[in-house]
Amino acid sequence: MDYFEELNKDYRFKEGFHTCINCGTCTAVCPAAEFYRYDPRRIVSIVQTRDNERIENLLKSDTIWYCGECMSCVTRCPRKNGPGLVIMALRDLSIRLGFFTESEKGRQIYPLTKALNGNVLGLGYCIHPSTFRFEDHPESGPVFQWVLDNKETVYSRLGANYGRDGAGALRKIPREDLDELKAIYDVTGGSERLELVEKHSRQKAEEMGMNMEEYTQYTFSHCSPGHFNNED
């Protein structure tokens, strides 16, 4: 497979990849490059070589998963490139080819896919208090633990329509609307994507000698040394 040609089918790549002059402005403004061993200039430069082996290495690496998709690079590139958009296309291809399980940061696609799409298809929200576990989010602070402990009354106090019919914040999304979301996933490749991520992640979990619960927890929580600039 010619990876460059595959990338070039992605509309984000078409929008975000023109001729890179290697000036490094993207890296200079990048919040990820500040802390991670990450250099968007280098990534775009590698893609620009069209060298299949080097692009495959990228697709299997941690480096394409460091970006936060803030798109600060899009504003600043003097050639109107969008390294963040190139990253989105690289990630998409990495997932489609099953290469994402080859890197620690890539494997995180599994817990993200489960949690976010579970919320979208089950509740109609990307994020929802009913699935936001305080033990996974101690940084949300004691005040949010209080909110979660008193969801019904606190959300009502704050003007929400928590879990009820009708309009308003945190309303119950009607079943027929959730069915439409599922139909959209089925028609557009979303459901297929979920199955693909599941299949490759199960294979990787088996290789790593973990069941899926252990794999989920491990990929969600584990950070090996070596990702950050300030490490030896």
Binding site: Y125, A160, T188
Partner: protein, 356 residues
């Protein structure tokens, strides 16, 4: 000549925001963390200022977070967006207003990509018909909710009960503004003031009597980074970026921060708590943090609404020192009451960051 040239350049950064008739779509993060802000957006825009703002109970997430965490294909995200457009069309509206910055970016990215690649728009229309039997007109205008409050800032100022003035010194309160990245970094011409001179929040602060404080890392991301926060193993990225911003703004002694993104007020608030627990450092005076407000919360305070109705009790950083400076009355005993004024067990207190 130079003045005229500057005027011409500035006009490129302006948005002609329609004054009325809006189809409102909510934010997943704001509903979960700052639902009172959305409640007061509707209350201020519809009930107080008499604008036509409609919400369909059938709208859902735009899928933006799932999309920017790379867990769904672009076509899936675009077809969810198209469904929202269909609901807007069916309700008879042409202007869409998004509560969320990620959604605003998502809607804008969708429309801009379709403009460049009409064949993709045709495919998404086909997808939507197959999946939902729905059709849509594209919105004539997409705004972020902060654009609407910016547009109405002077009407809000006319009805103000207090101004952003330190009641003890008589000086304007010092406010830092933080604009969400997807507001104008991707499509600068879609934001008020563009990416270079975004004034959507500074315009509100100035209209309401405050002083906008500049600092070196003013435009740096809050550090959400989608997967960089949502995955526990990556949160070092998130807190490090917030830390960088606070270290940069600290010497300028801001009284408060105003934000327009769903994630930013959460991260700028909660990471202050984490930094205090990890390092013992706090950024406000006397062991307090710097309070972080949504634009609706600040508008609500200016308009004289009760701080606990506005939801300020669900901030981790205490807001009381700011309320005292502003001269806003509040009942400390009512802070943690339930909807029927019932007593609830109060939240535990952080070990370092001073709270009530």
């Amino acid at each position: 000549m130079i003045y005229q040239g500057k005027q011409n350049i500035w006009s490129d950064y302006q948005k002609e925001i329609p004054h009325d008739h809006w189809f409102y779509v909510r934010s997943c993060i704001r509903q979960s963390f700052f639902p009172a802000s959305e409640y007061f957006f509707v209350k201020i825009v519809r009930d107080l200022l008499g604008k036509d703002l409609y919400e369909s109970k059938h709208h859902t997430t735009c899928g933006g977070i799932a999309y920017h965490c790379d867990t769904i294909p672009q076509e899936t995200a675009m077809t969810i967006v198209a469904r929202q457009f269909a609901l807007m069309t069916e309700a008879g509206y042409k202007n869409l207003v998004a509560s969320c910055i990620t959604s605003f970016g998502n809607y804008t990215e969708t429309l801009e990509t379709w403009r460049e690649f009409p064949e993709l728009e045709a495919r998404i229309r086909e997808n939507l018909w197959k999946a939902c039997r729905r059709e849509f007109e594209k919105p004539e205008y997409v705004a972020h909710a902060s654009d609407i409050v910016y547009m109405l800032r002077n009407e809000i100022a006319e009805k103000a009960k207090v101004r952003l003035i330190d009641k003890t010194t008589g000086e304007p309160l010092r406010i830092v503004e933080h604009i969400g990245c997807h507001y104008s970094k991707m499509f600068p011409h879609k934001g008020v003031g563009g990416a270079e001179y975004p004034c959507v929040l500074s315009g509100m602060v100035e209209s309401w009597g405050g002083q906008v404080i500049d600092y070196p890392e003013r435009r740096h991301c809050c550090g959400f980074g989608f997967r960089q926060y949502l995955v526990k193993a990556n949160r070092g990225y998130s807190v490090s970026n917030t830390h960088k911003k606070f270290e940069s703004m600290e010497p300028y002694h801001p009284d408060a921060i105003i934000t327009n993104c769903p994630g930013c007020p959460y991260f700028l608030d909660r990471w202050q708590y984490v930094i205090s627990e990890q390092t013992g450092k706090t950024y406000g005076r006397d062991g307090f943090g710097i309070p972080v407000f949504t634009y609706e919360e600040l508008a609500g305070l200016v308009l004289g609404y009760d701080p606990w109705d506005l939801g300020l009790q669900v901030h981790q950083v205490a807001v009381e020192p700011f309320l005292d400076k502003l001269g806003v009355a509040y009942d400390p005993d009512a802070k943690y009451l339930g909807v029927n004024k019932e007593e609830l067990l109060k939240p535990t207190l952080p070990t370092v960051l001073k709270c009530f």
